[in-house]
Symmetry: C2
């Protein structure tokens, strides 16, 4: 079984890589292990166990289910679980008593009916986009708790005791999970989102600067190896859903570090959308770095190269400056000065395009790639300007 | 409290809209209600209850947690839950006996240690991208079951009985959820993915056809209203993560309708990526429909309009034909014929660009938008060709 050995080796290598790339993932795993050990104490100590009975297992379940990688996700799940259990438990008890009034035969029918109605309505509510974003887990727990309390109430006349125990153990479990998540090397979703947006801006800048030095030198042997900047920006194209999820989690986080409670996380989504808009244009530019596309006549090439290089370099600096400003969370004038220089470079390129004497010798199809690159670069100026403005807000 | 009334009205309107847009969501809610009612029978009938005792609540929990909108998601969760509970329950019992051997004081320490190690390793494994995609839920349930069986084993010497009951009730709950999900108006992820890809191709086609008729007629009063085709394609830009999730769910689905078990769902991701690539270029085109951008001199405009219109229209037909082929799941030659016609139209546009007599009178900056549009349209030909090829595979 060589393949088994290979699999184990691969697995170990992958695990090592994951841990090296982000040691916080290892800490997270240890934190979960620790939290479960803490909550197991409820079983090990006779005194605590007597208080809760079998319900103590709910604390273990809660810790496993609620504990997530980031503080925002853990708080969101923990609060959803606590509040839902509380409200649904109360309603479950009420439903139980209502059903009890209707006598021996009516009781199971009424309980089944209540269960059906509550489950159907709440399941449908989970489709509402606004509720789904922040309270999806809470709605599920609501259905669960209501069904459990109402149903188990029929078998056991200690309904209220069961509801209380379940609530108490879930509160304990949630609090242990949330406290350990926050107190031991916490990972804040808000800070992650902040860094993601800043690093996405840097990736745009890297591409534009890299494009400037790479463009029209593709005949060189060296440049055949794919440059990293051409891969980096691709990750920016698909981050929309990640950003939205992160903004929803960040909503739950208390004040931490540079961020206040109720930091304007939605503004990050706006910046993210503008960055992506810019990345789409960059994706179009990236096609023109392929060496096998139509080549431009050499005389034109030389003239265009300088102007495009200049503009692309200046363009690249704008999102980089904006990223620095965002990281420091301070409004500076550097991006604005940089923007003015970029516009100057764009004007120069436009002047070159206007100069009829340059172009009349060649036919348009031959210079098409060069002209398109110039046009896209000029469009990106507006794009980058709107990013700078959004960051400034 | 007028605002409360407003909220209720809004809520009702939104619910009505959701239900009308996709009545399957209403059916799903009713299915969940029905499944919970069915599983409640375990409590209501004395005989069944005596067999399982308190563990019967696991069946209720399983139904609530496992029942998802699509068959693929439900099967994935159900199978993960059953297999994980089975394996982890067995290991939990083993751990319990091992700990038992070490005597009165050693037992809790060993159990806590086992719990810590298993929870930490499995939590870390949840970060592995491959495992996360398909078995994330299973890993969580593994931690949960192991902790529960090992821990509750210390209090109660009927460990094996507990493990067996938990396993049996979870099997029953999962099976009820999966059966009801499959038998009553099922929503197959595979079919959804198939339709999503086809409709994304149609959206590309709609944009390109719409662009052809809209382009360079923007001075018109009528066209000031935003056309729907300009909004449609935007939803294509961000579907990457949706498609990946759907492909992962579809993996679990058995043969249904036109799709066999182990249908090549990965091919859909490939087509999806190509469609998105094309949509990025289309996003660049969309900028040129704004009436406030640089206007082209009229003489050039007229010439370009016809050629661009032709190419854009032909281009639009290609993904639409491919979508029809995909929907019918039949390889036809229509997209290929259409592609040939499109290439002809592209050649015509190229000839126009090569014709020096047309362009020498004007400076390049004035005709820049027209030229860029032409260039992007020509690039989209390759894009659309690769989509057609990928669909053909």
């Amino acid at each position: 079984p060589k393949s088994v050995k290979d699999n184990v080796v691969n697995f170990t290598l992958e695990a090592k890589k994951l841990g090296q790339d982000d040691p916080r993932k290892i800490y997270h795993a240890l934190k979960v292990g620790f939290a479960i050990t803490v909550v197991s104490l409820f079983y090990y100590f006779q005194a605590l166990y007597n208080g809760f009975g079998v319900s103590a297992m709910w604390a273990v379940i809660t810790v496993v289910v609620v504990f997530e990688f980031t503080v925002g996700a853990t708080l969101g799940k923990g609060l959803n679980r606590m509040i839902s259990t509380c409200v649904a438990g109360f309603l479950g008890v009420v439903a139980h008593y209502l059903a009890d009034l209707s006598g021996e035969t009516g009781e199971p029918i009424l309980l089944a009916l209540f269960g059906f109605i509550v489950a159907s309505i709440l399941t449908f509510m989970r489709f509402f986009p606004k509720l789904k974003a922040k309270y999806d887990y809470g709605l599920m727990i609501f259905i669960l708790t209501f069904a459990l309390v109402a149903v188990s109430g029929y078998r056991d006349d200690e309904v209220i005791k069961i509801a209380q125990q379940r609530l108490a153990t879930i509160l304990i479990g949630s609090c242990i999970a949330m406290l350990i998540c926050i107190l031991i090397s916490p990972v804040w979703t808000g800070a992650e989102l902040h860094n993601l947006i800043a690093s996405n801006m840097e990736k745009l800048g890297n591409f534009l600067e890299g494009f400037g030095s790479e463009y029209m030198t593709t005949k060189d042997e060296k440049s055949k190896e794919e440059k990293s900047f051409r891969q980096q920006y691709k990750s920016v194209l698909g981050t929309k859903s990640t950003e939205e999820t992160m903004a929803n989690f960040a909503f739950w986080e208390p004040s931490h570090g540079k961020f206040k409670f109720r930091h304007p996380w939605k503004q990050y989504l706006k910046i993210g959308a503008l960055i992506r808009k810019c990345a789409y244009s960059i994706d179009a530019l990236n096609n023109y770095l392929n060496p096998d596309i139509l080549q431009t006549p050499e005389e034109i090439e030389e003239m265009m190269r300088e102007a495009c290089k200049k503009l692309s370099n200046e363009l690249g600096k704008v999102p980089k400056e904006a990223a620095i400003g965002l990281k420091k969370m301070r409004k500076t004038s550097t991006p604005k000065t940089q923007l003015a220089e970029t516009k100057e470079a764009a004007k120069e390129l436009k002047r070159l395009l206007q100069d009829t004497s340059v172009w009349e010798k060649s036919n348009l199809l031959d210079v098409l790639p060069a002209v398109t690159v110039a046009s896209i670069l000029i469009d990106i100026v507006d794009c980058v300007e709107s990013i700078t403005e959004a960051v400034h807000e």
